[in-house]
Amino acid sequence: MMRAVTLLLALALGLPVDTVAADRIRVVATINDHRLLVEAVGGDLVEVDVLARPAQNPDDLEVRPSHMAKLRRADLLVINGLDVDAWVEAVVVGANNSRVVPGAAGRVDVSRGIPVLEVPTTKVDRSMGDVHPAGNPHYYLDPGLTPITTGNILEALARVAPQHRATFETNRQAFLTRVSASLAGWQRALERFRGAPVVVYHKEWAYLLARFDIRQVDTVEDRPGIPPSPGHLVQLIRRMRDEKIKAIVVSAWNDRRTAERVATEAGARVVLLAHGAGALKGTETYFDFFDYNVKALIQALE
């Protein structure tokens, strides 16, 4: 009845009616990286939408009614967790979809089981900037964690559609095989830079750098989320000169002018990495995304 009313309303207003096939699982992921993982596991059985566009910073997304409209029809909500997408709760409240409310079967926190990095070991407060009390949430930048993340996604999809569990497992294994082979290649390519020091603008690259044994020795921001003070920049330039640090890693929403200024003064290069799949041109697929970042790191460190 409700569907008929909706259909009539949409037709009366001349709007496009829902085109998702009835037997496909509607999934909404908070970030694009998880969309790619859901598609890898779910294959043709899923229709995946994403809330934060690839170029947006998922850390402080402004909640919009269009996000609620996407979630309104979802069977499964895939969240990153570790506070990076805590805004999703406002989307859930506005979406009026009981399938994805906290505690429902139709949602999954992909961070479950992740060995979380940079978990604060001292008391934290806001004088330290925008710290994440649960640890660094950017684990999706480590391809080595895909067995855990895809495992969580598989379990969630199988809760929603248990009859397709075998297909999901087959898809997942095929994806993991491909990731494993690619990861070996990326590690070989970066082997000669093991232990190389870099400066990052914001502390979001810990998982990526740790995977390839590249050392994050300092940050342009002296406190996360707060623009750097001149005194900190002076110290940073001095340290980069002294320790011959060659690269400053930035993402698209960092203040590139500040990073460029520091790099020029310190005789280093600014390397723009994709903070997520699709964030930069040519990084739309999971493998292109890591290919790009690995190549960019090599160019900067050579």
Partner: protein, 465 residues
């Protein structure tokens, strides 16, 4: 851990039961050495699993432990394998009452099950002497003062799998009959049932009504230091805060369309005031939203409210609102925000006259008083920390003849998302003079400098469009 205990126990038993020959001592020494190595190996593995190396951060800016490389791909066991190895639940497990929390969030030791935030809004007002005497400024009775407008303790979170709850206690300086003091009140206390059928939700309790665009916002969340004159004239200085229920429905359409129906007691004395469910205040709102492209979006809303005044006469309000935002790709804040709202009021009032010539006013019927007003503002935020804006405001008085207009340019500085300062100049021009208590002064034109400092401790609400 169990393995460690077994190893230690074996070591103790072995050591305790040995005779003391030189050969045995040598043998024991080797064994102890082997056990020590084994213990060290187990300890290292435990540390690697916890991935939290010990050294504390040298600077407060780096509270986190140093980065440890995660396990390589091949060594990370798939979650499915772990889960499939778990013992199957018994019949008793199924019979035991349980809550489906486990599917959702991680819970750490000592973690609060709800969020707490404190928001504080400090305001300063500087104006002419006659305005202060007449109490004709934006914050009546608080002219030429620096005061805490609101200190609000907010508690919010999931009540159970079916509902969310919000409770906000507010303290603020106020002036009553010339007496200055602090007033404590419950600004919000409501629950929202999240799992109702047909994409509906029910919000019950005391709440900021979802009438129009700004009425839903707390003082520290307003786009300017003060509420537009049209809203304070029609809904009072604090806005429409009511006790009752709101039912919402989100249409299953490709774009957002939300419909809302509310029933309240109608306590707001500026617009209604009957304060009884026998003649409830009924509200309705429809809101839609369109992404025009990747950078810009627009929201449209239509609101209505109808109730009775304390004289038991019908009072109705209607409103339209519009908001546009431009957020260039890759920006973390909007470059341009344009918004506006218009309100229309229709109120039955008694017509009084001395029809029988006894010198006492009699009610000689009723008539309908129709009034309206509107405001619009534009805000430009070229840098993350700085914004500048301008608001224009025009309104008739809902219960008296006359009208007023105001302009308010302002500058905002936001060092972080938890701290904000605003400086504004406001010029208000009225058709009638406002006279203060005991005829101490009057004012028609008001010039004010407004300063605001707002900060948040703890949890803060998500930024919404």
């Amino acid at each position: 851990m169990r393995r460690l205990i077994v190893v230690c126990f074996a070591a103790v038993v072995t050591l305790a039961g040995s005779p003391a020959s030189a050969q045995d001592v040598e043998s024991l020494r080797r064994e102890v050495e082997a056990l020590r190595k084994q213990l060290q190996s187990v300890t290292e593995r435990l540390q690697a699993m916890e991935a939290r190396p010990a050294p504390p951060a040298p600077l407060p800016a780096s509270p986190a432990a140093p980065v440890a490389a995660p396990a390589p791909l091949a060594q990370v066991p798939p979650t499915t394998k772990t889960e499939s190895a778990a013992p199957a639940p018994t019949l008793a497990d199924y019979a035991r009452p349980h809550q489906p929390f486990a599917l959702a969030e991680r819970r750490g030791p000592g973690q609060l099950l709800f969020d707490i935030g404190v928001s504080t809004d400090l305001v300063a007002n500087l104006t002419q002497r006659n305005v202060e005497k007449a109490r004709a400024g934006t914050f009546a009775g608080q002219e030429n003062r620096f005061f805490p407008r609101s200190v609000e303790l907010g508690l919010f979170g999931q009540i159970d799998p079916y509902a969310r709850g919000v409770a906000r206690i507010e303290v603020g300086e106020s002036v009553e009959n010339g007496e200055r003091g602090f007033q404590v009140e419950v600004s919000e206390a409501h629950l929202t049932l999240l799992t109702l059928p047909f994409s509906t939700q029910l919000k019950l309790g005391r709440m900021l009504n979802r009438f129009g665009m700004l009425n839903q916002l707390h003082e520290d969340d307003l786009p300017q230091t003060d509420r537009p004159n049209v809203l304070t004239r029609f809904l009072g200085a604090e806005g429409l805060i009511e006790n009752g229920a709101e039912l919402t429905w989100v249409a299953p359409l490709p774009f957002y369309l939300e419909a809302l129906l509310g029933v309240f007691t109608g306590d707001n004395e500026d617009a209604f005031g009957r304060g009884s469910l026998r003649a409830p205040l009924v509200t309705a709102r429809v809101r839609t939203f369109f992404e025009l492209d990747d950078a810009s979006a627009i929201q449209l809303g239509v609101s209505a409210a109808s109730g009775e005044t304390s004289e038991e006469r019908r009072s109705s309000l209607a409103g339209v609102d519009l908001k546009y935002k431009l957020v260039p790709e890759g920006w973390r804040h909007p470059l341009l925000t344009l918004a506006g709202e218009a309100l229309f009021a229709s109120r039955k009032v008694d017509v009084r006259g001395d029809s029988d010539g006894d010198g006492i006013g009699d009610v000689g019927g009723t008539r309908t008083r129709k009034r309206w007003g509107w405001y619009a503002y534009a805000e430009l935020q070229p840098w993350q920390r700085w914004a500048l804006g301008f608001r224009y405001d025009w309104t008739q008085y809902p219960t008296a003849p006359g009208r007023e207009w105001a302009v308010e340019p302002y500058l905002a500085f936001k060092p972080s998302e938890f701290l904000r300062f605003r400086l504004a100049y406001k010029h208000t021009d009225r058709t009638h003079r406002v006279t203060g208590p005991d005829d101490r002064g009057s004012a028609r034109v008001v010039d004010e400098i407004l300063f605001q400092a707002s900060f948040i401790l703890g949890a803060h609400p998500t930024d919404a469009f």
